[in-house]
C-alpha cells in the first residue's frame, strides 16, 4: 500500500488520457462533430438566399455573418461538454482523481474545441469564398477564428459547468455565455473587416490573443470550481 505515491501517474499522463478519451467518445458519437459543423454551414449559406446574391452586398456582411454563425454553433455545441459525464458519473471520478482539476478540465476543453471548433475554422475560407469576402482578408479570418473559437469554448465551459446539474437548461446557457462572448465577436469581425478594407488587423488580433490568454488561464479554474458546486 506504500507504493501509492510511486505508482501514481503524472498529471501530464492523466491530461493525455482524458484528452484521448474525449476525442474517442466524440469520434464514436459522430453527432458532436457533425451537428455544430452542419449548423454553421447552413446558417452561413442561408444569407445569400435571404439577403441578396449580389457580390458587393455579400462582401460587406461576410465577416459578420461568419462570426455570428461561429458564435451560434459554438453555443449549440457547448451543451455536450460535461452533460454525458455528469449523467453517467464519470464527472465524480474526474473530481476525485488525484490530479489538479484545472488540467483535466483543460483537456476536456481542448478535446471539445478540436471536435467542434476546428472543423468550423477549417471550413470557413470556403464559406467566405461563397460570401465573396475580399481576397486579402482570408488569412485574418482564419487567424481570428483560430484565436476566437477556443476562447468561445473556454468561456462556454464555465457556463456549462455551472448549469450541468440543472434538469432543463434551455436559454440559460446562452444568457450566461453571450455577454462574455460579445467582445470576441466584436474584435473578430473588426479584424476581418479592417483587413478587407486594406487596413492592418494586428491590433485586433493581439487583443483577441490577450482574451484567449486570459481565458486559458482563468476559465478552467472557474469551470473546475463550478463543477464542484454542480456536483455537490
Amino acid at each position: 500500500m506504500d507504493s501509492t505515491a510511486l505508482n501514481k501517474p503524472s498529471t501530464w499522463s492523466a491530461f493525455a488520457l482524458t484528452l484521448k478519451r474525449d476525442l474517442l467518445i466524440a469520434f464514436k458519437r459522430k453527432n458532436d462533430i457533425v451537428n455544430p459543423f452542419m449548423f454553421f454551414v447552413i446558417v452561413v449559406s442561408l444569407f445569400p438566399l435571404a439577403i441578396s446574391p449580389e457580390p458587393t452586398k455579400l462582401a460587406e456582411i461576410a465577416a459578420g455573418v461568419i462570426w455570428i454563425a461561429v458564435l451560434l454553433s459554438a453555443m449549440l455545441s457547448m451543451d455536450s461538454l460535461f452533460r454525458a459525464d455528469f449523467e453517467d458519473g464519470s464527472l465524480e471520478m474526474l473530481l476525485l482523481s488525484p490530479h489538479p482539476l484545472f488540467f483535466l478540465v483543460l483537456a476536456k476543453n481542448i478535446a471539445h474545441w478540436i471536435v467542434s471548433g476546428l472543423p468550423v475554422v477549417i471550413a470557413s475560407p470556403l464559406l467566405a469564398y461563397m460570401l465573396k469576402l475580399p481576397g486579402d482578408s482570408y488569412l485574418t479570418l482564419l487567424l481570428s477564428l483560430l484565436i476566437g473559437t477556443p476562447t468561445l469554448s473556454l468561456i462556454g465551459s464555465i457556463a456549462v459547468a455551472l448549469t450541468v446539474g440543472l434538469g432543463s437548461r434551455g436559454l440559460i446557457l446562452a444568457v450566461i455565455t453571450l455577454p462574455f462572448s460579445v467582445p470576441v465577436l466584436i474584435f473578430g469581425t473588426l479584424a476581418v473587416q479592417s483587413s478587407a478594407a486594406g487596413l492592418p488587423a494586428g491590433g485586433y488580433l493581439a487583443l483577441m490573443l490577450a482574451i484567449l490568454a486570459g481565458s486559458l488561464s482563468l476559465a478552467p479554474l472557474t469551470s473546475a470550481a463550478a463543477l464542484r458546486i454542480s456536483v455537490s
Binding site: T4, I25, G89, E92, L94, L96, P98, S232
Partner: protein, 215 residues
Amino acid sequence: MTDTSFQHTPDNSPLFEVCNLRCERDERLLFSALSFAINPGSALQIAGSNGSGKTTLLRIICGLNDGFEGQIRWRGFDRSEQSEAFAADLLYLGHRVGVNKVLSPLENLRWSAGLQVKVSEAELMKALSDVGLRGFEESPCYTLSAGQQQRVSLARLRLSPATLWVLDEPFTTLDVDAVARLEQTLADHAEKGGAVIVTTHHKLELPKLQRLTLG
C-alpha cells in the same frame, strides 16, 4: 510526492475518522453528532432506510459534498489539508457507475483506472476477465446489461492502489456469482490492510465488520 511522511499516522490515529458530523439537506436533518472511525483491515457497513442519507454521507466522506459541519480526518490530518494525497488513496464507486455508454469496457477502464494508477494493457485485460467480462472487452457499453456495466466499474477495484474504498450500493445489479466474488474482493482488501466503507441492504459477512445505521 517524494515525502511519504503522511503514510505514517501520528499517535496511532485511525486511517479515517469522522467527528461530530452534522448534515442538513433541503431543511431536513439527515444526521447530527455522527462520529465513527475506521482502521486498516476493517470494514464499515452503513445501513438505513431509503432516503436516510447514506449516499450523502458517502459523498461527504469522499469530498464531493461539502454541505456539512464537523471534522473529517484522514491518517490524523484534516482531510482538506491533504486533499491530493487523500484522493490518491481513495476509491469511490458511486451509484452512477461512471461508465460511458459509447466506449468499450476496456476504453472505460483505461481512463478510470489510469487516472489513479499506471496500468498496462495486460493488467486491464486481466481485471476485466476477473470480473467476468472476458469476451466483452471491446463491445460498446450500451450493448451490455446493467450488471455488466456495474462490473466494468468494479474492475477498478482490482487495479486501484487506494487504501480506502467507498462503495455505494455495489451489489444492486449483480448476479449471485458476482456478489460472492465481490465479497471475496472486499475481504481480500481488508486482509491486505485496506479499509472499506460500503452501503448495502445486502447481508455482508466480513471479518471486523462494523455496522452503522442512519435514520
